[in-house]
Symmetry: C2
Subunit: 311 residues, 2 copies
């Protein structure tokens, strides 16, 4: 049966672009579908200091631009075409496009990413990447000598709060309850850390700032309704992450908490379907991780296609 | 118990340097031990076209240099100190140095890499990265319109020979036996591919060339002892890979064919011991893979250290 392409990549962040680079360079008949501009979450990242190969770091925009340019050099076709649905279980995979019509292919790489949960308060969007961060591993070193707030009480929030004290002078942990969900040992270390101050039973109501970035956070005690504010130069929102899975046939795929389960070769539970990047079930979501996984996903897809009888 | 460092990274290729970048930037007490110059196999790579972020590609030397400079910006200590042995099973890990003495730590990242098997014939070393390649995924696109030889008969050799026909005008497959070890479907596709010519029962005896690189290969038929030669501009030696595991306590670690078995978070079978890069058991060994795995290995090591009671 004739298909439109051998391989379709869904998503144009670092994972999708890396898979696209490898596929195009390998002369596969491939197309990449992206709902917006290539780059994904990286476009919202002010400065990337920890992607190996750039001694001085570079802006997220610049990195996205370089990755896209590299795919273009190998003539990768990138289409701005949101995908609304997929049938993946047959040998021929069918993708449904928002603009109407379908595209068929033999192999698919899912790389639609994820997005951090927001607290949805005034100032959050305005100061994103100018003091509001969703990744302490990425951004903690930028807060040397500063005062910052962490929103959250889970393992990530508490481990990252401790991590932040290596750089920041003081870390407030704002938590809506009066106890943490984090594991005991992380709690004990955080309680023993004199740079960390817990603000219990409290939710943020607004992030304030000026042209230079964040200057403070407004708070409300959920038990007393009393309001207060803190002077901080950074707000780390560490309350989880949601996969961009709305267009995926979740009932066909093995998933965990909405993220796609893969093996170490980035096979999903469906033959011919691979996944990489923030969309997959895993512990760490750095750009370098996405790039590595996507390389594997593409080479696994090539291997799959090379072993198809009618290919 | 007092240790010399929280974390020691063994090996300074892209995996080791990436783990070192993440560890140093996270302010861990870390040191990286490398037997030679930082960069690893990448230093032997003429041109890297498929590491995402460099639209025009860059030399292997340049990439190694950039990765090293990035770790220096975060003050990573890199010691030229070959490791001769390790005791990994206790909570405190001990590394034995060739120069004498030991270093102790709580967590270790193993990133000693691997090396391609060589055919050990005249010209092989002389023309390395000037026509002799050990990676068709990496180098095939550089041979557009050329005539090349593949040495080997396994899955990798045959899949890569087919891959090479997308670029090269003709691909000779030189194999010492009169049948292939590759899977049936790969064989059938290769036999049906009119750009591939098999040279059976034959071993290479020398690679010849001039200042511009490889120009030919000398052959001997192992049944008839008859010698011959072929005009080729590239020789792909695809006869497997050996892990650099000589200094590892292999009896303590779960391994497969000499490579270290890890889970998806780069834990080895020993708590506190992580591994990344070409040393681990896996299908694909691109720089991007090593970088992604090392990022995970370091973040897993951080997580491990954060959960140690006495840390």
């Amino acid at each position: 049966m004739k298909v439109d392409h051998q391989l379709i990549i869904v998503g144009g962040g670092p994972a999708g672009l890396t898979a696209g680079l490898y596929a195009a360079r390998a002369m596969l008949d491939v197309t990449l579908l992206e709902k917006g501009a290539p780059g994904g979450q990286v476009l919202n990242t002010d400065w990337v200091d920890n992607y190996p190969g750039f001694p001085d770091g570079l802006s997220g925009f610049d990195l996205a631009d370089k990755m896209t340019a590299q795919t273009k050099r190998f003539d990768l076709e990138i289409k701005q075409a949101p995908v609304t649905g997929m049938d993946l279980q047959e040998d021929v995979k069918t993708l449904h496009l928002e603009e109407g019509g379908t595209l068929t292919c033999r192999a698919v790489i899912l790389a639609t990413g994820a997005r951090p949960n927001h607290i949805d308060i005034p100032g959050e969007t305005e100061f994103a990447a100018r003091g509001v961060s969703y990744c302490a591993t990425c951004d903690a070193p930028f807060y040397r000598g500063r005062i910052v707030a962490v929103i959250g009480g889970g393992n990530t929030a508490i481990q990252e709060a401790s991590h932040l004290t290596k750089f920041a002078d003081k870390v407030y942990v704002i938590h809506r309850r009066d106890e943490l969900r984090a594991t005991k040992i992380l709690q004990e270390k955080a309680f023993a850390n004199d740079k960390i101050e817990f603000v219990w039973d409290t939710v943020p109501t607004a992030i304030t700032g000026d042209k230079s970035g964040v200057t403070g956070i407004e708070l409300k005690n959920v038990k007393t309704d009393k309001t207060s504010s803190l002077d901080v130069e950074g707000v780390f929102v560490l309350i989880g992450l949601r996969p961009n899975n709305e267009m995926l046939p979740m009932e066909q795929l093995k998933t965990k908490d909405g993220f796609i389960v893969t093996d170490q070769e980035m096979h999903t539970s469906i033959p011919g379907v691979f996944a990489a990047g923030d969309l997959i079930s895993k512990n760490f979501r750095q750009i370098a991780n996405a790039v590595g996984e996507a390389t594997t996903a593409c080479l696994s897809a090539e291997h799959y296609l090379a072993h198809l009888p009618d290919e």
